[in-house]
Amino acid sequence: MLPIRSANLKITAALLVTASLTLTACGRSGESAESAYPAKSIEVVVPFSAGGFTDSGARLVVDSLKERFRQPVTIANKEGAGGVTATTEFLSAKPDGYTIEALISGPTTEALAANPSLPYKWDSFTVLGGIAISPRVIVAPAEGRIRSAEDLIKNLKGSPSTVTWSTGSPQGPATFSTLALFDALGVDASAPKRVTFNGDGPAANAVAGGHVDFSAVNVSTALPLIKAGKIRPLIVSGTEPFPLLPETPIASAVGLDDFILDNWLGFMAPPKTPEHVVQAWESALTEIAKDPDLTAKLRNIGMVTQRISAQELTDMVKRRFDTSAALVAKFGPQ
């Protein structure tokens, strides 16, 4: 009996070594010259699960970047805790331009404002620029008591405790955009009943089923349900009419002036990434933003192509973080 066991042990040990070597090989190796960036494949971390809104957009963009960079660009989904886990890990990634994270509102803005003790700050990372935006839209059940922005405002101001709302992320954009709405209307945020779901999809489904009164969801999540006639768009965030929902009033049209809660799709690199990487990304993003094919694909999933420079995007992140921090100061950590 004993020889068999020790043989097994040896084989197991040998395979453990093999497995770990394989894993090491999968990781990054070697350095590359500045001039030839990118000289090998780039990994783009998406801090959310596969198939989500950010993931779908990032995959389409990455597909175009591949051609532009002439190197493979792969996506690694690392979901968990609203993107915070992946972003924390990303803080210590090698700043060589070969590990990039998709930058969307959430991990470095709303979630950070709610958890100031996280190891990173809003400006810890090297922003590479953005490619698209997608607003949030406030939706209500198609057949319900709330049928317009005025109905919603009236109910929220008149009898806030009878209103229920759903959110797809406890410390993310969905919650904070609704808090911003309450703030703008002067409604006590604790009065309406909040129902928390895991993701914008389930939060929107709860509206479609009439289980809650309203929700602020991603346009891409809302579009199919709006088209199916199951939910009714009330207000779309942003400063100009959103081309995919031309009929829906924008926030300023219903008296909500400071309600700019567009989601953006951009990219960032670990802290202290050299300038030539930023430049390579800026020019690549500028280039692919001109591609009508990519624009059409992004539009199909509810994103509008908009070239956002690294500086602009940094400002947007700062503004969003400040707004979120102010909401936390006012309504407490969510």
Binding site: T85, P170, N205, A206, A208, G209
Partner: protein, 502 residues
């Protein structure tokens, strides 16, 4: 044109050589994704969506959907042969499937899994075509209250999965519930049991836990057993006998129906459908004591249920535009990138995509069964491969599979920890199944319960608002009571304790 005419027209498009090729490719990729633990259908489909953009819209969605149901076929193979569930929903299949493999009946289990999947696949598409407009409102009626009641009903199954000792079963179930609490609170986002670790804030990932509990603990058990291979006798028959086929017919039919209807419910995992189907078979079986020790019904029914849940999940997508699961959401994305919005208008606006898409699933299921049945002969021999060869392979496959989910070394640590935990539990005769059930159900029941409380302003009386939820809760209480009573009867009848826990 009537529905039938439309479907025939769709079938004509699905049967063009090009579309058969795409269905075949999708089915093949799906089977591979299913066989390997780790990478699941959601990630596999998401990976191929950008590649499908260049195809015709119909071809693209045909391929992406084929990956999904292909993975449901493939997930059972390693679950049966090596106790390594390839997909979450195959955990249940491993219970009796692996027991059959150890008795040299692995071939029969594989064949029944393939046949069950095939029948369920066809049946669920027929139900989809015939019943879609009728049952679609059911999906919308499931809000937090109803989902919470339904998951409470599913959790009652833990009593039946407990095996010989109720205390040990409940210990396992409780441990599962506790582990599911690790990570961020679903309502407030605060960390629970994370001890300051950012990795634990994301919670303990399901795949590493299951692969650890089943595969790694199996390696440890096998190394300690001194046996030479999974099955040491001569393999006599590789296909199921006539009586095994007869025994499986009922479970396949019931599993298909149950899977279809549970597939409709937004937010309920297909794994919950498998567990429920297994529980139902055990309850109605005249000899429930065979379950967990190689009952073919225990393979047939959950395999049928998880395949049928695919068809069920398509109903809310195609009629309401509602994705009921993350996997269906990826499929929704595949439609969207082609400028097609799934929903009630899809059949009038895009009949040339919607009908071929549905028809292609008939084609895909035929391809899968033709692909899988002959392979049974080859796969089934794995049980005779010496442990010295097969255990390292299982170990390597487990490592790669678990790492592929999130590319996170921490997951490998989780897998190993749960491997040793599983080993300890099995040595102490604590069954693993209730723990896995708890892990599947806990996040759903917790968030839906707390959502219900939010709606009720903190009061449980909110359940009074929903007759459906009250009905489901009543059934749960009755099942719990009958389950406990039959257990007491078994205990007092003083049967010799032949049972060995799985």
């Amino acid at each position: 044109m009537d529905t039938f005419g439309q479907l025939l027209h769709g079938l004509a498009i699905a049967l063009t050589p090009e579309n058969i090729l795409w269905a075949f490719l999708g089915a093949l990729v799906g089977t591979l994704i299913g066989v390997l633990p780790g990478l699941g259908p959601t990630a596999g489909m998401a990976l191929l969506v950008p590649l499908s953009v260049g195809l015709e819209p119909a071809s693209a969605v045909i391929m992406i959907a084929a990956i999904y149901y292909g993975a449901m076929y493939g997930g059972s193979t390693t679950a049966i042969l090596m106790n390594v569930p390839g997909e979450v929903s195959s955990v249940v299949t491993a219970l009796d499937g692996y027991a059959m493999a150890r008795q040299g009946r692995g071939g029969a289990a594989l064949a029944i899994a393939a046949i069950g999947s095939f029948v369920a696949g066809l049946l669920s598409i027929i139900l989809l075509v015939v019943l879609a407009p009728l049952v679609a409102p059911l999906a919308l009626s499931f809000g937090p209250l109803e989902l919470c009641a339904l998951t409470a009903l599913a959790l009652v199954a833990a009593v039946n999965l407990a095996g010989r000792s109720l205390a040990r079963g409940l210990l396992s179930c409780g441990l599962g519930l506790l582990i599911a609490m690790i990570g961020s609170d679903p309502v407030t986002g605060e960390g629970r049991f994370t001890f300051g670790s950012v990795e634990l804030l994301a919670g303990v990932n399901f795949i590493p836990v299951v692969v650890g509990l089943f595969a790694i603990s199996e390696i440890l058990m096998a190394s300690a057993s001194g046996a030479a291979s999974i099955y040491e006798g001569r393999l006599s028959r590789l296909y199921p006998s006539r009586s095994e086929l007869r025994q499986s017919a009922g479970p396949i039919a019931r599993g298909s129906l149950l899977g279809f209807f549970l597939g409709l419910v937004p937010g309920l995992s297909p794994a919950a459908a498998s567990f429920t189907a297994y529980d139902v078979e055990r309850r109605i079986s005249p000899s429930p004591e065979r379950f967990g020790k190689g009952a073919i019904e225990g393979v047939a029914s959950p395999e049928a249920a998880n395949n049928s849940a695919v068809g069920g999940g398509l109903v809310p997508l195609l009629t309401l535009g509602i994705p009921t699961s993350p996997t269906i959401a990826v499929l929704l994305g595949a439609f969207l990138v082609h400028g097609i919005t799934p929903g009630p208008l899809i059949f009038s606006e895009h009949p040339d995509v919607a009908w071929p898409f549905i028809a292609s699933m008939f084609v895909g299921n035929v391809i899968l069964v033709l692909l899988n049945l002959p392979l049974v002969r080859i796969w089934a021999r794995i049980v005779s491969v010496p442990y010295a060869v097969i255990l390292p392979v299982i170990l390597v496959v487990s490592f790669i599979g678990v790492y592929s989910v999130n590319s996170r070394p921490f997951d490998l640590v989780v897998m190993l920890v749960f491997g040793f935990l599983g080993y300890g539990m099995r040595r102490a005769h604590i069954p693993l199944a209730p723990m896995v059930l708890a892990l599947v159900i806990a996040p759903i029941i917790e968030s839906s319960f707390r959502q219900s409380l939010s709606l009720g302003g903190g009061s449980v009386l909110v359940f009074r608002q929903s007759p459906l939820a009250l009905g489901l809760l009543a059934v749960a209480v009755i099942l719990l009571w009958t389950g406990l009573r039959s257990r007491r009867r078994e205990a007092t009848s003083d049967r010799p304790a032949l049972e060995e826990d799985f």
